[in-house]
């Protein structure tokens, strides 16, 4: 059993390790390690397209994670008071949203957005006062943020809801009993209690959006996110530069995930007592 487990882990992690290793290769070859160097990191970071793609990815991840966190938290709190069949339906929908393959979400979002744009653009053109300056709705930042935000909202809901459900109901009653208004209770008791889950949800949402290729590929329009850039440059062959970018993305993602996990773990401690 142990041998199999080891084999599985090796199979999973050796390619990642090799990417990280070859990102420090001084030579160009993708199969021969000729010496240690950080030149490819320098190359990657001075590449205008890489930096632009990084900025796009970062902005999209930040905006979509923020949206997902705000609405996901609201939904998680609201779902707490929903009971019975409606609750089951909502639960199912949320889990489906997480489990549906990215490619389905990508295509579905693309079709939905394009249809809406086709319908809205003539309408906008008709009502806009200045004909030359009519805004054209098209794929880009907005569609990326919307698609990522919707998908990651499901993640945030799941994480925050687990925390809300684990929260002692009597804390809320105690707060009300001590004279706090419903909003006062939310601000002084509920929010501090679920804050770790909200933060962890935000970080996970950010990581997901930052890493996502499939959904972004469909809805990015003319924008290029970092994963899309990597994909397109790989078609010209794997270079150590791509390895360096991949390693950077990996490092950022891992840091965020570990932070999120640490927050979720640490946040539980005080309630244990």
């Amino acid at each position: 059993m142990r041998i199999y487990a080891l084999a599985v882990y090796l199979f999973l992690y050796i390619p990642i390790g090799i990417i990280a290793l070859f990102s420090f290769n001084s030579g160009r070859a993708a199969s021969q390690f000729t010496g240690f160097s950080v030149q490819w990191y320098g190359k990657a970071l001075s590449n205008r397209f890489v930096v632009e793609a990084f900025q796009t990815s970062f902005a999209v991840a930040l905006a979509s994670a923020a949206l997902a966190t705000v609405f996901g938290t609201m939904a998680a709190l609201a779902l707490q008071s929903v009971k019975g069949r409606v609750r089951v339906a909502f639960d199912a929908l949320i889990y489906i949203a997480v489990m549906v393959p990215g490619i389905v979400i990508g295509i579905a979002t693309l079709i939905a957005l394009v249809t809406v744009f086709d319908w809205l653009n003539p309408l906008l053109a008709a009502i806009w006062p200045v004909a030359e300056a009519t805004p054209q709705l098209s794929l880009g930042y907005g569609s990326l943020i919307a698609a990522h935000g919707l998908f990651t909202m499901a993640l945030v809901i799941i994480i925050v809801r687990a925390r809300v459900a684990g929260m002692d109901r009597s804390l809320i009653e105690a707060s009300a009993d001590l004279g706090a208004t419903p909003f006062g209770t939310f601000r002084q008791v509920t929010l501090p209690q679920i804050a770790p889950a909200i933060l962890a949800g935000f970080l996970l949402a950010f990581t997901f959006s930052f890493d996502d290729f499939i959904i972004a590929f469909f809805v990015a329009g003319s924008k290029t996110t970092l994963p899309i850039y990597i994909f397109s440059s790989i078609r010209r062959g794997v270079t150590p530069e791509v390895n360096a970018i991949g390693t950077m993305v990996l490092t950022i993602s891992l840091c965020l995930l570990i932070t999120a996990q640490a927050i979720l773990q640490g946040g539980r401690k005080p309630t244990k007592n």
Binding site: D168, S170, L171, E173, A174, S175, A176, D177, L178, G179, A180, T181, P182, G184, T185, Q188, V189, P192, Q193, K269, P270, T271, K272, N273
Partner: protein
Amino acid sequence: MKSEPSLHQAPIAELRNASKHFGDVIAADALNLTIKRGEFLSFLGPSGCGKTTALRMLAGFEAPTKGDVLLDGNAVNDLPAHRRPVNMVFQHYALFPHLTVAENIGYGLRQRRPRMPTSEIATAVERALDTVRLPGYGPRRIWEMSGGQQQRVALARAIVNEPKLLLLDEPLAALDKKLRRDMQIELQTLQRSLGITFVLVTHDQEEALSMSDRICILRGGRIVQVGSPRDLYDRPKNRYVADFVGKSNFFAGTVQQASKDGCSLTVDGGHVISGQSTQDLSRGQKCSASLRPEQIRLTRKPDGGVSYPVQIVTRIFLGEHTEYLVRHADLGDFLVLVPRQAEATEGGFEPGDAAIATWANGSALILADD
């Protein structure tokens, strides 16, 4: 001593025909109860008897389905919990884990509008900490406190607001026995010194008996009997109350004769037990004769009263008393509590010994089930 409420003063709280239904379940059924100013009242009953529902209606967490809840003479059915001058000590304390001890205690005062000056809050919190004998514990974190200390913090958090009613939901259930005893005394002392009306919910009859001025016994959502601990102990309304309050031996039988002066019951084996009743009984009714273990004496030779030859089954040494489980051929097993002094003169009994169980004729209580 507490002053009796004057006649023109409305009672501090009142339940008038208050019912609470949860779907088909009737958690509280037309409760009528007046809570007097400054008293220590307990709701006593097994789980599911409606005692917690009654408390939650007073706190404002549940609105009565029918009837009224009054505070200071005003109906407060629709007044939400956060606007009632009532505070509660929760069963598992419900202390805010993200706040310090002092922040927990000051929570209620910080909600007041217009705002209370921070310095005044700090002073009040210090005073409350002194009251519950936790001076200097203010900066601590909740999880650094032991169970007993958390209990005191929960108490301080409630009394610092000087509520009209302090509601306690099984506050001592989570403490160990020794600590529970100490806290019982402390709660009682605190209640006397603060003059706040306490309403306690408990399933522990000993707790209710030792602390309360009055006890309200509930069963299946209805009030069975309200009275002082002594009333309930000496004059239980029915078998249920006698069984719940203190220990009692019950001998089932049929009423043979019932009148104002007393009644008698024919039990198994044709024996007749006579006594008093708190209810109107009729001849032929199925009833039980109740005898407290301490009403029965154990002797080696018959000496006055009614006596039954018994055999000792078990013996439990309780310090001040020894509790014997004895067996009579017709009456079955019953408990006898022998004070240490009586044992000294009569000598102890060992399991298997023969003895005579004696009680004063007419001292039993004849009680119907309801």
